[in-house]
Amino acid sequence: MSTSRRQFLQSASAALIGLSIKGDRPVVGTFVNDSFQMGHQLRDRASFPQPKQVAKRAVVIIGGGIAGLSSAWRLHKKGFTDFVLLEMNDQPGGNSRWGENEITAYPWAAHYVPVPGPKAVYVRELFEDLGVLKNGQWEERYLCFTPQERLFLYGRWQEGIEPAVGLTPGDRDQFRRLEDRIHEFRATGQFTVPMEIGLSDTTEDLDQLSFADWLRAQRMDSRILNWYMNYCCRDDYGATTNNTSAWAGIQYFASREPEEKGPLTWPEGNGWIVRRLLERVGSFVETNRMVHKISRRGKGFSVLAGDTEYQTEFIIFAAPTFLASYLVEGMAPLHDFEYSPWLTANLTLEHYPDSYGTDPTWDSVFMESPTLGYVDATHQSVRSHVERTVWTFYWALADGLPSENRQLLLNKDWNYWKEAILHDLERVHHDIRKCVSRIDIMRMGHAMARPKVGAIFSAERRNLAKAHGRILFANSDLSGFSIFEEAQYRGVNAADRVLSQVAGAHGPTH
């Protein structure tokens, strides 16, 4: 219906002004990287084949996202090689997966890392190893090129995402007061990256109400300010301010004070980091290895994945933690872990729309859109002239129940989502259909841990994060939210705790 109406209006207006209609480009594409089926097999406790072979490793890492790869990086760096990393998909990377076509590499999910502060010791160590940080200087080519971000509001673009045009004195006052509050929180040193370092019980009350309620209590009711807060929560947590703990909302702003104009980014997003990690530890990674059962075996474990039984002394469980209760024999169900469903899409553009508006920009956001806008994969290219490009479109399904949004993701076909994406882009680029030739879509039912009210100080979460046995949990969801630095911290930390136990059992390592 809507298509035919649009076409009618188009032809009517075209006829009115005596123009011939320039046809829209045909758009092709598919869903990609679906992992629903594997997840549902686990949930429904489907029957899996009996193992045909046995492999023995001192350590098995489960999950090849940033957490698992960071564990592997740490073990390898410390000279420990008796381990294997099992990845369910055919491509490692998890939320940092990437793709590539003849135009450019592009991200499938996480696409940047804020310039790490001094407390993110492991991230800085990694970036020194990868040549991103050299002699205290951040490599210029890995810092996001100018212009970084823009926001479409009131029919025009402004530089930066924080709304700056059209503010009333009341709006300005509230932004200023929020900034003051954030400044106070930052000064306490209790909001840090990684979060574990600063976490203090004195801030527990902030975890007992939603960010929206906290803003209300602060008499911050500006529509513009609340839009921006909501955008930030959707972007980092996949949740609205109503469904985000005030602690997490404050963490977003209070934990960072960049020392350099960033963020760090690459054409393939954080996939660049995954590629560099795989250059170092790729030989330990086995893909298409979905673990379906973990059981006790003596002091260690038996891990069943595909047709292989891995006998191991230690497990680093770096996959999303909620999966553990489906996999680990005898483990009680988990209640405090909630995840936000997401959709990302990569759009191939044959040329930029005439309505593009400004110099090519990295991240474009539309005010009052339910989506998070798009990132240009060729922005981080040193070329002066770019014709074809790839846009990565981000959409956290933040409104409504996650379970219902997961159903929506599953039930609607590619065409539905393609149209939804193009409609959203048409808010700003009326001629987008003349430019796009391909849209590939990735659906993620459990994309990001959601720091709902109470999640940060959840006893269940904190106990799993501290657990000091032979199975160590490492996913970023143990921080309550899914960001690169938390995943990397948890991964490295789990590896260190394994190494300290191995050292006891096998003598010193280097």
Binding site: L19, R141, L143, Q148, K261
Partner: protein, 490 residues
Amino acid sequence: MLLIAACGLIYELIAGTLASYLLGDSVLQFSTIIGCYLFAMGIGSALSRYIDRGLAYRFVWIELLLGVIGGFSSALLFLAFAYTQGFQLLMYALVIVVGVLVGLEIPLLMRIIRDRYHFRDVVAHVLTFDYLGALGASLLFPILLVPYLGLVRSAMLFGIINVLVALWSTFLFAKQLASVQALRIMCVVVLCGLGIGLAQAKRITIAAEDNIYADEIIFARDTRYQHIVLTRFKDDIRLFLSSHLQFSSRDEYRYHEALVHPGLSAIPAPRRVLVLGGGDGLAVREILKYPQIESITLVDLDPEMTRLFSTHPMLTALNQKSFSSPKVHITNADAFPWVDSNADSFDFIVIDFPDPTNYSLGKLYTTAFYKAAARHLSAQGLMVVQSTSPMFARDSYWCIAETLKQAGLKTYPYHVYVPSFGEWGFVIASFRDYQIPTSLPRGLRFVSVDGLPALFQFPPDMSPLPMPSNRLNDQVLVRAYDQDWKDISH
């Protein structure tokens, strides 16, 4: 009725928009034009009392006149701006004439149809549609007309509508008209005129815009990368890339001698030279004055540009067929990726890009780029960078010098006077110390051994300013450049 009202408003909006485009200060333009227009309508209404016979006949005539004057108003104004001094005079004259005619329309129409309806209904009817038409026009204008049709064609389209109304009136009021046939022929003739105008409107716009260039255009082409325009006035050939002047043949020797010789003559035995940008072959012409040079690699983005300067007789006369030299190797590539992927080393590197007017060009003026370019310098190598004007864009000039410094290079800034540009600046940069040369190739017209040291002296109004370096993640140069030129033009 609806259409009449819409047409009237459209002409007014067009005049306002055009004046804002061409003269700036939209508040002033719109206020004065709306004022004149309304006032003229008042005059029209007042004049309507003097018309007492042949109402329908005169109404048709008014519509016809409006169609012609309004329809061609935008094209006339464009041309007037490009070719005459009298733009404002013509604009207000047109606004007043259109206003008077529109002011006549409604009283006449009311009187024509008053016999058919009650007076109460006539007023209500006519005024309702009048205001409704105004609403339609004011919405149509910004949403559809300006973006899709442009001003010239919008005016003509509404001129056609006016004439169609006239034509329609000849049928509607046929009984009240004496010479219906003549009027209809008239309408058709005017209609044809406007139709042709509509079809040719693009040409009119181009003719007007071309006149923004002072001289006769001898070549114009849109390539994938830029808009190339060559103009000529007597013996002066000028090249514009995307509307920015690149050289004037009268004084380009000053620019290109100063770009090349202070650096190249200071290198003891230069053999290999790299030119980044410089698709006009004029820097290469200067470099070829050193017989010991064995090879010159020129990297320019636009193949159209290098082809033009390799083949066009007027241009090869200018660059003395420098691109035909067997020593010259032309590569059409984006400079930054080329510098990244190539491994050759050069004794002299000329960096001659367009000014940093946008962030894409700004990448070629960053620490990252200069570091990558400097990797190609041989042990004795020097590079020279075209660095905008230290006079008109002083912040920008010293920002470029600082950027070269932050890239780890020693810098030697200098400047020359090029009449068509004004004061222009360059920076020599290298890992080694630079000495001003004591000998130069023979036959130079501007650069001389005696004159060289003075080029490196900066008077107080161009002296160094503390500026941050320009980096990929913080392109301060593009903002500074934008600001510098804004300051000049205000």
